[in-house]
Symmetry: C2
Subunit: 411 residues, 2 copies
């Protein structure tokens, strides 16, 4: 056990890698059905971009993998897929709306904990160029369709309009105070109202103001201000799409990243931890030097979805993706085994043959260890008769069939 | 144009990202048909692993992205997918043969040049645990099937057995000299016989020895030693698989990495640059502290395959993956447009609707800019009659049809 994956990272062995791939396939399929187009960007970005105002803020260096290349360029592994998108959109001109998806790894130098990794997969969609609430709703609709397809039943999506809080807070908070208050409220689900109160006290917010903040953050209905209009329009559109029952209004939802400007959402699978979220970020592209382009998007945390699905046994358990193993009774029939395994593969059947020059019983043992459901047995007799034994490894049942019959059976 | 991708890296915009995805899909499909299972490993590894004997050798620090995390752990972005596989296999016990595939990015701090990037995609398969030549051949068979499926016609795979050279060189070279000579011969295709001669002189190899080296490296047929047996067995198996016409024996092929022990291959698409290769590395897993496990594998360079395919116009050109755009004649019918676009998506048709609150002609313009092949036109009249105009954007032809008809037509 000499070498391990670096702290906070992990290997996905075939069982888990196949499961993650299934999730990725569903995401991609749904994204593409909604007209989102793929984008691929480098794993690392210039530190200047990563530390630009709007993202993780000044503390970014503590939260990312930072390094210099051999020409002393300051770089860092990307902490999300939004900053790279904003970079691309700010530097080239694309037809609007630009609907892009990206399913790749991101890295954060966080303290590893339950369901918190330093390397993790995100599946993002964003609509760039549209200020219409239809774009925000579509992102949530896509998310619901993915979660439905994956088999989740009790998930919900918390929704808020940051403007609701902002407009109320503006009545008694200074602009400098606002961001600090937002950062604290973001932790409400984690630390509770008492925790928020304590942290705001520590931040030297006036106690009368704290009382008011706590009152507003606990409202069950949206206060009557401009943000409410937007939120209602959003909810009406959600109704037309038939996803309204999945939404839960939560005025305390603000989300950590500074770049969000209005509608924000967070996905909850019924567990304590969120498995993604997003919202509208109308200023980010301009902030990093691009044009004034509105944008909205959502990000799914695939590692967490994977773990919750495993926990709830939502996957069919398969040790191997192979459908059939072609076993030879001895080495004199290798050439025939090759021909047969290739014929199976030509017919799109996942097949393996012995690559170890092992005896027959060892071959069966391997197929059984890997839970390969079928074995075809090839020997000199079978070749003469042009019929082969097909063994069902679960039931033990054996039938002698022509290769054509076997192929049509396995297909 | 403030922020750019870091030097040596690039963004793949939707057109190219879709093309790369097509290549990845073909690789995955073929890999899985041959019973290879996916593995996913972290983007970075401990520097101790990356610098272990057998891989890039002592110079590794100059050739990788090296960094320390905040606890001063020495890390580096992986330079290939073989060292991570060797790490996994050396630390856990898996049924043998372990047939794994991995399609991910790797990074090398190389001088960027034509078709040479610092971040690039590799698609690897390896068979771990088998010392049979069947395993080596299967890797090449898989490669040929992928290249066939992608539409390549004039590709070939250079093959050699390192042992051929080794056995001949052992007759007159010292062990210390051997590795240096191998490194130089590896460049033969690039720098020619004269270049090899010059470099060997520079390395202070005796001029009589150089003459002998050049003679052996130019042999058209394998010299009569033990390596020849293996090579012939390999070629016979290749014949049984029907890929012998794709193979070119090349005694000068050694490949740069130290870990190769016998059969090596390199893929040539008919261009000057190689787009991948591999071979047998029976000692690597033991060298990094694992058991004595033989292994062989092949690696495809997907960025190069992508660029060669683009160059040769081997892709269907598509600006968008969207099949149909649902255009509304005015905002009064948005709800109907939503219902229709969702119905299309439910039928697995990639569809978009207006997310910009634009007027009708601007919507058509967007669909046309993206080369979306069909537009469905929704207006109050159409809704009343329950028939909608389906416009073929290429021919301009318009037909009025029920949604059901449209769906079965577009499917």
């Amino acid at each position: 056990m000499k070498f391990q994956p670096p702290k906070g990272t992990r290997d996905l062995l075939p069982g888990d890698a196949r499961k993650l791939q299934q999730i990725i396939d569903v995401c991609r399929d749904v994204f593409e059905k909604y007209g989102f187009e793929p984008l691929i960007t480098p794993a690392f970005e210039s530190f200047e971009l990563l530390s630009a105002k709007g993202g993780l803020g000044e503390a970014v260096k503590d939260e990312i993998y930072y390094f210099k290349d051999k020409s002393n360029r300051e770089l860092g592994l990307r902490f999300d897929l939004t900053m790279p998108l904003a970079r691309v959109v700010s530097s080239i001109s694309l037809s609007k709306p630009f609907k892009r998806y990206q399913i790749e790894k991101v890295w954060r130098y966080d303290n590893p904990a339950f369901l918190r990794f330093r390397e993790f997969w995100q599946a993002d969609i964003d609509v760039v160029g549209s200020s219409s609430l239809l774009a925000d709703v579509e992102c949530v609709v896509v998310t619901c369709e993915i979660l439905d397809r994956l088999g989740f039943e009790n998930y919900y999506i918390r929704v808020n309009n940051r403007k609701l809080l902002q407009e109320e807070f503006e009545k008694f908070l200074k602009t400098e105070e606002m961001l600090e208050v937002f950062r604290t409220i973001d932790k409400l689900e984690k630390i509770g109202l008492e925790g928020v109160e304590a942290e705001l006290k520590q931040k030297k917010i006036d106690s009368k103001k704290i009382l008011e903040i706590l009152k507003i953050s606990s409202l069950k209905d949206a206060p009557d201000n401009e943000g409410k209009n937007e939120l209602e329009k959003f909810l009406n559109l959600a109704k037309t799409f038939g996803i309204e029952k999945r939404l839960k209004f939560d005025i305390s939802l603000v989300r950590g990243l500074e770049y969000y400007t209005s509608i924000v959402f967070e996905i909850n699978l019924g567990t304590k931890v969120s498995c993604g979220g997003g919202g509208r970020y109308d200023n980010l592209i301009k902030m990093i030097g691009g044009q004034d382009i509105p944008a909205t998007g959502i990000s799914l945390g695939l590692d967490r979805i994977l773990e919750v699905m495993k926990e709830n046994k939502m996957f069919k358990e398969e040790k191997s993706g192979t459908k059939v193993f072609v076993a030879n009774v001895n080495s004199s029939v290798i050439d025939n085994a090759i021909k047969i395994v290739q014929e199976l593969r030509k017919n799109r059947i996942s097949a393996q043959m012995d690559l170890m020059e092992r005896n027959f019983s060892k071959q069966l043992e391997y197929a059984s260890n890997l839970d390969i459901p079928y074995v075809i047995i090839i020997g000199p007799e079978e070749i003469k008769r042009n019929k082969f034994k097909l063994k069902n490894m679960k039931t033990g049942e054996q039938r002698e069939l022509t290769l054509q019959k076997i192929i049509s059976l396995l297909k």
